[in-house]
């Protein structure tokens, strides 16, 4: 058991080492959300009435942009399973005398940690742009970010376990991740969206992540926080179970 935990710790550490060595990738992954926030957040200010952030659009989209960073960061580290497969490292982990569950958990925890770190960096940038963050509430926000990240890393691992190569990756980004982001109400209030968009957004797990982030960061959400958190916990349980199952099934 002890040996399994050690293996889990080293899988986690591996993700962190890779994160600190890939500075250009981190900058690249933060660039798009930053532009969204810097350009949309400052120029759309005051164009309409917003239900949150006292009409300050920057503060309205900040939680949404953070959720976006978490989503992209987590799904990406999960999908890295494909890269591990292509570069052969996956085989090394698959034939080790450790349970696959330990490997996939270590990997997911590591991926989630790096996603939260990216979220915190983004939060720093938001503050630099003029958004205000309540420091006292930060621990709760970090815990929430960790929950969201772990759920989406697991989703990424699940996808990565079934995809054969990197070709499928663009497809996932364009047909799953981007729609998830746009439908989540990260950039606009869902209350102003047409009925059909709103309906679809309710099946988007990221909607609940954005709602919860908004609740804890700017004190407003259209959905009761118990529902957002409940859905996120269920989503986390589901993706973790599925990813563990699918990862266990890989036969290379």
């Amino acid at each position: 058991m002890n040996h399994e935990l050690t293996a889990l710790y080293f899988m986690w550490k591996r993700e962190l080492i890779r994160f600190t060595r890939s500075k250009s990738r981190v900058v690249g992954s933060l660039a798009m959300p930053f532009f969204f926030m810097a350009i949309l957040g400052t120029s759309m200010n005051g164009i309409g009435s917003l239900p949150a952030g006292d009409g300050n659009y920057l503060e309205f989209i900040m939680p949404g942009i953070l959720a976006m960073v978490l989503l992209f960061g987590s799904v990406f580290t999960g999908v890295i399973v494909i890269m591990d497969r292509q570069f052969g490292f996956l085989k090394e982990t698959l034939v080790a005398p450790v349970s696959r569950t330990c490997i996939v958990l270590g990997k997911s925890l590591g991926g989630a940690t790096t996603a939260v770190l990216q979220g915190l960096m983004m939060m720093g940038l938001a503050v630099a742009l003029g958004a205000s963050v309540d420091l006292a509430g930060l621990p709760v926000v970090i815990a929430l970010m960790a929950l969201i990240s772990m759920a989406f890393v697991a989703l990424g691992v699940a996808i990565g376990s079934v995809l054969e190569d990197m070709h499928g990756f663009q497809l996932i980004m364009n047909f799953l991740v981007m729609p998830m982001f746009f439908l989540s109400g990260a950039l606009f209030p869902l209350s102003s969206a047409p009925e059909i968009v709103r309906m679809v957004s309710y099946i988007d797990p990221l909607t609940y992540a954005v709602e919860a982030m908004r609740f804890f960061l700017v004190g407003h959400s259209t959905m009761p926080i118990e529902i957002s958190l409940g859905v996120l916990v269920l989503f986390f349980a589901a993706t973790t179970t599925i990813s563990t199952y699918l990862f266990n099934r890989i036969e290379s």
Binding site: R18, F87, P97
Partner: protein, 329 residues
């Protein structure tokens, strides 16, 4: 003593039978080679022995552990060097080895010493803290061998250990493999499609084609089974030579202006034949000898030459990948 035993091991992919009811025994401490063309089933056979693929039918024991029922026992007994690279390129050599040590349950206090020990075997001490991305193909291979040895396996599996390496590095890797056997007593099971590699390294060789073992013996015995070495004498009087070498040659064959003789140990017999010809004043224009290679053995058993096999798509990809990786160094 037999350390690995396969009985009726079979792996099917749909209608394709990749490994077809293979039974064989590998002895402790030997270097055992699986030799065959690309796609013969070597890698699939190894994959089953290292518990990466499950057999369709049949069974195998590795170090006394059943590959299906006791995979963790098998995994702890073996080290593996895969055909394709399997290092994390973004980690340093040390970090790669450390992760491996953790996964194989090596105690924290022993990790550093073990890592230093194995990098010394493959002479990579001075690059231990460098990121693997900066390593050449040969250095990566050596690091993978080091990693395979880290948990003191009883058996080391090497799948095409020298594929894509330049001749000098290949020679180097051969030396390491021999050292492992001689100094550390490790049983080595390797696959290769290089005949000279199997010949110079392996104690015993199984020739595999279309998933079946078609011959198994020491390289010398396999070559001898073809009837020995060939000496070709160019002479206007082949009949006289034939008469003269009676008792030396096992078989003779006369062609126009030459005669070929099947003999044992051609390098010694060739001098004798020269002496006899001179004694009897038979004119000899040229004399040459040819030792059968494992190529000839393969040809003999399959009717095909191993080198005629087309390069598979995966190989082509591997070659491209290596070229690309080489360009970055």
């Amino acid at each position: 003593m037999d350390i690995i035993e396969l009985s009726g091991l079979t792996k099917k992919f749909g209608p394709l039978v990749a490994v077809d009811s293979v039974s064989l025994k590998i002895r402790e401490g030997e270097i055992f080679g699986l030799l065959g063309p690309n796609g013969a089933g070597k890698t699939t056979a190894i994959s089953m022995l290292v518990t990466m693929k499950k057999p369709t039918s049949g069974s195998a024991c590795v170090n006394g552990f059943d590959i299906v029922k006791e995979p963790d026992g098998v995994r702890r007994s073996i080290g593996i060097v895969f055909q394709d690279p399997s290092l994390d390129e973004e980690l340093t050599a040390y970090e790669n080895l450390e992760l491996h040590a953790a996964m194989y349950g090596i105690e924290r206090k022993d990790r550093r010493d073990r890592i230093l020990e194995v990098v010394r075997i493959v002479e990579l001490e001075d690059r231990i803290n460098d990121i693997v991305k900066t390593f050449s193909g040969g250095m990566r291979r050596r690091l993978e061998i080091a990693r395979g040895l880290l948990h003191y396996p009883k058996i080391l599996f090497l799948d095409e250990p020298t594929i894509g390496l330049d001749p000098q590095t290949r020679k180097h890797v051969w030396d390491y493999i021999k050292t492992l056997k001689v100094e550390h007593g490790i049983t080595i099971v390797m696959t290769t499609h290089y005949m000279e590699e199997a010949d110079s390294l392996c104690d015993r060789v199984a020739i595999i084609d279309n998933g079946k073992i078609i011959a198994l013996d020491t390289p010398d015995a396999l070559k001898d089974s073809l009837g020995g070495d060939i000496i070709i004498v160019r002479t206007p009087e082949p009949r006289k030579i034939e008469e003269a070498v009676k008792g030396i040659a096992r078989k003779t064959k006369i062609d126009d202006g030459s005669i070929s003789l099947s003999v044992a140990q051609a390098d010694k017999k060739i001098l004798k034949i020269m002496d006899i010809a001179r004694e009897r004043k038979i004119e000899v224009q040229a004399i040459s000898m040819h030792k059968p290679t494992l190529d000839d053995v393969f040809l003999h058993y399959t009717g095909r030459n191993i080198r005629e096999e087309a390069v598979s798509g995966k190989d082509a990809m591997r070659i491209r990948h290596n070229a690309w990786a080489g360009g970055r160094r």
